[in-house]
Amino acid sequence: MRSRTLQRAACALSLVAALAAACSAPCGPAARAQAPAEIAVIVNKSNPVDDLPLSELREYFLAERGHWPNGGGKVRVVMLEQGAPAREAALRLIYDMNEKAYVSYFLGKKFRGETLEEPRQQASAADVIKFVSFVPGAIGYVRPEEVDASVKVLRVDGLAPGDPGYKLKL
């Protein structure tokens, strides 16, 4: 009797799973429409790094690497706050995550003891630039047109924003 009840429960679960499989996740077209065409990755001007492969850039943003090469100090990732179009773009282009996955990812990182250095958040591009210009190990992103001379724009896979084939482009 009890086994039969459990079998029915299992059938119900199968149905739920099948229904779930039929659902598809909305990908936020509105947010995508607002996102900038490109994002520029910026670092402190004292940072000797000028060019990074995209895969390595991801490692810095994902806290897989916590230090710059050759004793360059700790990496300080700075993000724009939720809702900023450039943040949406960075999540898609660099992290390959949505907001929820991003939060979960860093909670997991912290939980596993792999890092306590979560990305900082700044309210505006000006704040991001100021933070990056002040903190030697900082790395962040803004729209290319927002960059000023106080920070350095990194080339990604040898290409700068605006170059044909630049990868941080929607």
Binding site: R2, S3, L6, Q7, A9, A10, L13, S14, V16, A17, A20, A21, A22, C23, S24, A25, P26, S55, E56, R58, E59, L62, E64, R65, G66, H67, K74, R76, V78, M79, Q82, D96, M97, N98, K100, A101, Y102, V103, S104, F106, L107, G108, K110, F111, R112, G113, L116, E117, E118, P119, R120, Q121, Q122, D127, K130, F131, S133, F134, V135
Partner: protein, 561 residues
């Protein structure tokens, strides 16, 4: 006749003048020498103008000029005598004040340069003193006479006062000051932002609690309130005493099973308090405190992790304390945070020691981990040495937190790779070695090899692990193979999953024979009711050697807070 007399008188007068000239020069020299010794209170008679005064000692022009006005817009020159006969003229960019019958008694003008002139010089030329200002482009000057003072007033387009070298130096100084100001502003903003965030913590949490779990604002509030990545957590440079961060994980369950003697029950799962604190740039502490009810419905409390970590760089992080042994993937990926797990329970091979698991999942000792320098594929290592697990004895707690049963220590060495070219992929293996000393029995050599291939991203999950435990005692070897595979895919808020697991402990295994063989599928679905709470429904079928099969249903709410 008269004409001749006039001519003669003129010639005589000229001869007289010529005769007097050397004498006049001598007098002038004497006067110049004399003026050097004159006091400021020289006779006014000497100051009278006109040709007669030229015979008097020269004026002592005190070139201790003052510079006033807006950044050097006015220069004042004073003298011990009236300066009413001075004149000024401009030659190109040079503006010169000529003070006749005077000597310079002071050094150069204190304001040797200013906003309106590039340089100023003082020179004696003949009987006069010349003060010359080299004006900057667009600047002009005007001379105002007082009784015994002159004022040169400048006007026009002011330009930087500095020379190019000084320009550079001052520009550098200004740049540095601006950077310091910017850094201070950033720091102040950071400190200010922390205050309202902390103040807003309670309202945000309250909002999250009372609002509909699906409501995005509430989710955002909860997000901001408790640990979504933000600058408020773990600042790069902690100030004052270390700040303790707490993240909670918990689950509530409804379990049903066909196992004889079991009852369908609501069950409070583990309350997992995950604590972290940064002590300095390189030191931090993390801990997991678990409160849960046992099968006697009594609460137990245990420190499952307490680790002091030192991070030298990406290649070396040292930890000392109690940690989760890096055997395989599951144990160190999920620890006690059920919210992280897709399924409602752990694969049996990674069941905790207190719940019938056979692996030494907790250990007390020292661990080191980091990237392998220069290695490809994001290769990392882990090395651990600790007390290991106690032999299975009813009287022993499985984790030897305070006392080891022997002097032999357990070692665990592992390598794993996270290739940057395939984000989400992780694969690795580990070898664990210990010697167990069960009471009233021969020692048992224990070797555990584990390997895994895991792929996870926001949409897909594929966990595949294999473990082989080898026990050797009295010349015999007992191998226990185990594996599981778990697949899932995200569809919006739903994540259906499937798992198949297998473990086979030989019937004559000296330590874990009661586990026997277990294998079977499990499937279910996880539904994220909010960003930080999930509902899981799971059905599991387990075949057992010489025992009836188990059919179990697990319903679980798991959340983090």
């Amino acid at each position: 006749m008269i004409h001749k007399l006039s001519r003669a008188a003129g010639a005589a007068l000229a001869a007289f003048c010529l005769a007097l000239l050397p004498a006049a020069r001598a007098v002038a020299q004497d006067a110049r020498a004399l003026t050097a010794g004159l006091s400021a209170g020289a006779s006014d008679a000497n100051a009278s103008g006109g040709a007669a005064s030229r015979r008097l000692p020269k004026r002592l022009v005190l070139l201790r000029a003052s510079v006033g006005g807006d950044g050097g817009a006015r220069v004042t020159i004073s003298s011990d005598s009236p300066l009413d006969d001075c004149e000024s003229f401009r030659d190109g960019d040079d503006y010169t004040v000529r003070i006749p019958w005077a000597v310079a008694a002071g050094a150069a003008l204190p304001g040797a340069e200013g906003r309106f002139y590039k340089s100023a010089r003082v020179e004696e030329r003949g009987d006069a003193v010349l003060v010359t200002f080299a004006l900057r482009e667009g600047a002009s000057a005007r001379l105002d006479r007082g009784f015994n003072r002159l004022e040169v007033t400048f006007a026009g387009a002011a330009t930087p006062a500095a020379t190019p070298a000084r320009d550079n130096a001052e520009a550098e100084t200004i740049r540095e000051m601006r950077e310091q100001i910017a850094s201070l502003e950033a720091r102040v903003r950071e400190l200010e932002s922390r205050q309202p965030a902390e103040a807003a913590h309670a309202p945000a949490a309250e909002a999250a609690a009372v609002a509909n779990a699906d409501a995005q604002p509430a989710a955002n509030a909860a997000h901001a309130a408790h640990g979504a990545p933000s600058q408020h957590d773990h600042d790069a440079e902690p100030t004052g005493a270390p700040r303790l961060q707490i993240q909670g994980f918990a689950d509530v369950n409804l379990n049903a099973s066909n196992q004889p003697g079991s009852h369908t029950s609501f069950a409070l799962g583990q309350l997992d308090l995950f604590l972290t604190s940064r002590l300095s740039e390189k030191f931090d502490v993390l801990s997991e405190l678990i409160v849960e009810a046992n099968r006697s419905n009594q609460f137990t409390f245990e420190i499952h992790r307490l680790l002091l970590q030192y991070t030298a760089n990406d290649n070396l992080r040292l930890g000392v304390g109690r940690y989760h042994t890096a055997i395989g993937y599951y144990n160190t990926a999920y620890h006690h945070g059920s919210w992280f797990q897709t399924a409602a329970n752990r694969p049996f091979i990674f069941a905790f020691e207190g719940k019938g698991g056979i692996l030494p999942l907790h250990n007390v000792g020292v661990q080191a981990t980091g990237r392998v320098p220069g290695a490809p594929w994001g290769l990392r290592y882990v090395a651990e040495i600790g007390n290991g697990r106690a032999s299975r004895s009813p009287l022993d707690a499985p984790v030897q937190t305070a006392l080891d049963e022997n002097n032999r220590k357990a070692f665990n060495l592992g390598l794993f790779a996270r290739p940057k070219t395939v984000p989400g992929l992780q694969t690795g293996f580990s070898v664990y070695r210990d010697r167990l000393a069960p009471a009233n029995a021969p020692t048992v050599g224990q070797t555990i090899g584990a390997g895994y291939v895991v792929y996870q991203n926001a949409r897909y999950e594929s966990l595949n692990e294999f473990v082989l435990m080898r026990l050797a005692t009295n010349g015999r070897v007992y191998n226990t193979p185990a594996f599981y595979t778990q697949l899932s895919r995200q569809f919006g808020s739903y994540r259906p999953f499937f798992r198949y697991q297998y473990i086979n402990v030989p019937s004559d295994n000296p330590l874990y024979a009661d586990v026997g063989r277990r294998n079977g599928p499990a499937f279910g679905v996880r539904y994220d009711v909010s960003d930080f709470a999930a509902f899981k429904a799971q059905y599991e079928h387990t075949s057992r050697r010489r025992l009836s099969s188990l059919d179990e249903l697990f319903l679980q709410f798991a959340f983090t807070f």
